[in-house]
């Protein structure tokens, strides 16, 4: 008999007032009992609607069935057929709008906690199966991957499994992309990312850090070096600013800089060589997942008041509901329907406040969301000594500026077809570099699709 409880098994988590002072992981993961109990909520539908909601088409009912049988390694094997980074996806995928949104159990009650089960399986495997995967026999063809983020790592893993000799070029000193510089430790422990990267290396993938494609080596040189197909997964790394007065004051950060200092450079650790300003009140501008991450980091660094300043309402926030809830529990103050107009500073040019204006929602705009409009004479000043701008990013120009024949659109994103083929033969692209800022799992899906297309391309060329 399936478990007919209308509610998901709750995720064990650190208490809000404890976790907002440390950088350890917030969600602690299911126990075996909880996982099996949750797995029993799955009705094992024949038509598998959940699979259609997964960007990498994991056979969800199959792996859940294995959990029910307590064959956790079996469950892992099913997931890893489709996903190269299950421990990551189980944590950061927006399951509520993907697989779980299609779950039949969600019609009446809560859907099966697919994401939490995926995480359970991946963590179980990482804890109990220490054997590294074996490198498959090489087929003698070389592929290059630009960027060691979610799309690049996925593409690399799939190609390596097919027998390709794969080299990943990464600009930073560490592989992982947004998984290491952006998403904080308390949401995605870096040891998990490192483990996934080690697994790729065991498959024979070479990772060259400290190589900026477009600067250190150009795309054309990669072809000269014998790479037959190239995948560009360089992400959308360029931060946007609002262009309001005071944005260059000391204490104004892009979310990228703030998070990179905290995560990649470990400024949260006592004695770190990389400085971060100590703040008492922080305003984070924006309403996405990145804004939630920045706000929660600021709180953990010791700020007394942390505000999310967002020009639309709570309903319109693009961040995942779970992230918003976690932030609220941790004491982040939500100032929705407010928009910054100026950042104020003292005589030494340090931030002392942010002037905001209240907003109200008008008619829907092009995005379908109601357009925020300013309320007259509603200006007020928020006393803050730090402002983090988290209003989006654009693709990096380094590759498009140095590579001939690569078409980009007006936003600077690479133009690629549904399998990732760009305007240049042998060059594929995917992830944020093509779509603009999106999610980890969409980037992974693109990396996966491109790997298949690269394989077909190389085979057809050598046929």
């Amino acid at each position: 008999m399936p478990n007919m409880s209308l509610k998901k098994n709750e995720m064990p988590a650190q208490e809000p007032n404890v976790r907002n002072k440390n950088f350890s992981e917030v969600a602690l993961g299911y126990t075996e009992e909880q996982a099996v109990d949750e797995a029993n909520r799955c009705l094992n539908c024949k038509n598998k609607p959940c699979v259609g909601g997964c960007p990498v088409s994991i056979d969800i009912p199959e792996f859940i069935a294995k959990i029910r049988e307590k064959d956790f390694e079996g469950a892992y094997q099913i997931i890893s057929k489709s996903s190269s980074l299950p421990a990551v996806c189980g944590r950061v995928c927006p399951q509520e709008t993907q697989c779980e949104s299609k779950c039949v159990r969600g019609i009446k009650g809560e859907p099966v906690a697919i994401g939490r089960l995926e995480r359970f399986v991946a963590d179980w495997h990482n804890k109990n199966c220490t054997e590294a995967p074996k490198a498959p026999e090489k087929n003698g063809h070389k592929c290059a991957i630009i960027g060691a983020g979610p799309s690049g790592l996925t593409c690399a893993g799939d190609l390596a499994k097919m027998g390709y000799d794969v080299t990943v070029f990464e600009a930073l000193h560490l592989a992982g992309g947004v998984l290491v510089y952006g998403i904080p430790e308390f949401r995605l422990p870096k040891a998990i990312v490192a483990h996934e990267v080690e697994n790729l290396k065991a498959l024979g993938v070479k990772i060259e850090t400290n190589v900026v494609i477009g600067k250190t080596i150009e795309v054309d040189e990669l072809f000269e070096q014998g790479f037959e197909a190239i995948f560009i997964g360089s992400g959308a790394g360029l931060p946007r600013f609002m262009n309001i007065p005071g944005e260059n004051l000391k204490g104004v950060y892009s979310a990228n800089e703030f998070l990179t200092r905290v995560n990649l450079m470990k400024a949260y650790k006592e004695g770190s060589d990389t400085p971060i300003k100590k703040n008492s009140s922080v305003a984070v501008v924006g309403g996405g997942n990145v804004a939630m991450d920045a706000a929660r980091c600021a709180k953990r660094l010791g700020a007394e008041n942390v505000y999310i300043v967002y020009r639309r309402g709570l309903e319109e926030m693009p961040a995942r509901k779970e992230e918003v809830e976690h932030a609220m529990e941790e004491g982040i103050i939500f100032k929705t329907l407010n928009n910054p107009v100026e950042i104020l500073g003292d005589e030494h040019k340090f931030v002392t406040g942010m002037k905001c204006i209240e907003m109200e929602l008008g008619e829907p705009d092009a995005s379908g969301r109601r357009r925020p409009v300013e309320k007259k004479d509603s200006e007020f000043t928020l006393d803050v000594d730090c402002v983090v701008m988290s209003i989006g990013t654009s693709p990096n120009p380094l590759i498009r500026n140095t590579t001939k024949g690569l078409e980009t659109n007006k936003h600077g994103c690479f133009v690629a077809d549904e399998v990732g083929q760009t305007s240049r033969e042998g060059v594929f692209a995917g992830g944020d570099a093509v779509t603009g800022a999106a999610t980890v799992i969409l980037a992974m899906g693109a990396g996966k699709t491109a790997a298949k297309a690269m394989d077909e391309y190389i085979k057809s060329k050598n046929a």
Binding site: N210, V211, G237, L238, N248, S254, N256, E257, D273
Partner: protein
């Protein structure tokens, strides 16, 4: 890991290191920079390329010991390794078509000005170099500048070497003598570049400066290196580091550069104390 193949103390606070980094050496041009980390968990710091040898595959950096990271770096010896070394980053200095140029260097900024002077000189451009230091003990690269310049003026604040005075005094004198420069290239402390630009603006001489703000990744990702140029926000790492000096908001750059001064000083003392314990 990147090997230190040569180390030379240029003066008590400035050190030269030649690093084995063939990929960077193959592409580096004057005006570009690299980012390095001395050790695991270390800070990423940008340093401008002082020289390169494409054949040998080495890149030379010259740094002043100002903070914890440069202190740590200075404790590394020939034959030892540094953790990370990435580049070349930023745009190269434009030297094309220039026939007569005044290159102005200040302090350790001379290390960056030198390869620019050398490249111009190699291209057949007439180079007048003006280099300024606080005193005689801090003078670096005199022979190198001599070889790369048609005219070399050395200035010291206290008159202990060369001529007593500021680089702007020497530049003004050269201009007043009737030298017509296509361009002035000024590299050094922000305050020096500010005053060089103030002077050349009066004379209407185009002036390029090399900005060295705080940065992390060096590829346009963090935006920490932003500065205002002609009323627009620019990122020094991808849009520069060279900018039209008459458009740069130097006062803002000075302020931004001081953001972590206290932290840096405390951190450096920490490192110094650490090494005192060892030695």
């Amino acid at each position: 890991m990147y090997k230190i193949v040569r180390k030379k103390e240029l003066n008590p606070t400035v050190t030269l290191m030649e690093i084995d980094a063939p990929l960077v050496a193959k592409k580096a041009e004057p005006g570009q920079f690299i980012i390095l980390r001395v050790n695991e968990d270390g800070e990423r710091i940008p340093l401008t390329v002082a020289d390169y040898d494409r054949e040998k595959g080495t890149v030379t950096i010259i740094f002043q010991i100002v903070g914890a990271t440069t202190e740590l770096l200075n404790h590394k010896n020939e034959g030892e390794y540094i953790q990370d070394f990435v580049g070349p980053l930023g745009k190269a200095t434009e030297t094309e078509g220039l026939k007569k140029v005044a290159v102005v260097g200040g302090g350790v900024g001379c290390a960056i000005a030198y390869p620019v002077a050398k490249k111009l000189h190699d291209n057949g451009c007439e180079v007048h170099s003006i280099v300024g230091f606080r005193n005689k003990d801090l003078v670096i690269l005199e022979d190198e500048f001599n070889a790369a310049s048609n005219v070399l003026k050395i200035m010291t604040d206290d008159g202990s070497y060369g001529t007593k005075g500021l680089v702007t005094d020497a530049l003004k004198a050269l201009i007043d003598e009737g030298n017509q420069y296509d361009e002035v290239i000024a590299i050094g402390p922000v305050i020096m570049m500010k005053f060089v630009c103030k002077l050349t603006k009066e004379y209407g001489i185009k002036t390029m400066v090399s900005m060295n703000p705080i940065m992390i990744d060096g590829t346009g990702m963090c935006g920490g290196c932003r500065l205002t140029v002609g009323g627009e926000t620019k990122f020094a790492c991808v849009d520069g580091p060279d900018f039209d000096g008459h458009l740069v908001d130097f006062d803002e750059a000075l302020e931004r550069g001081s953001m972590y001064r206290e932290f840096e000083q405390a951190k450096r003392e920490e490192v110094c104390n650490l090494f005192k314990g060892v030695k």
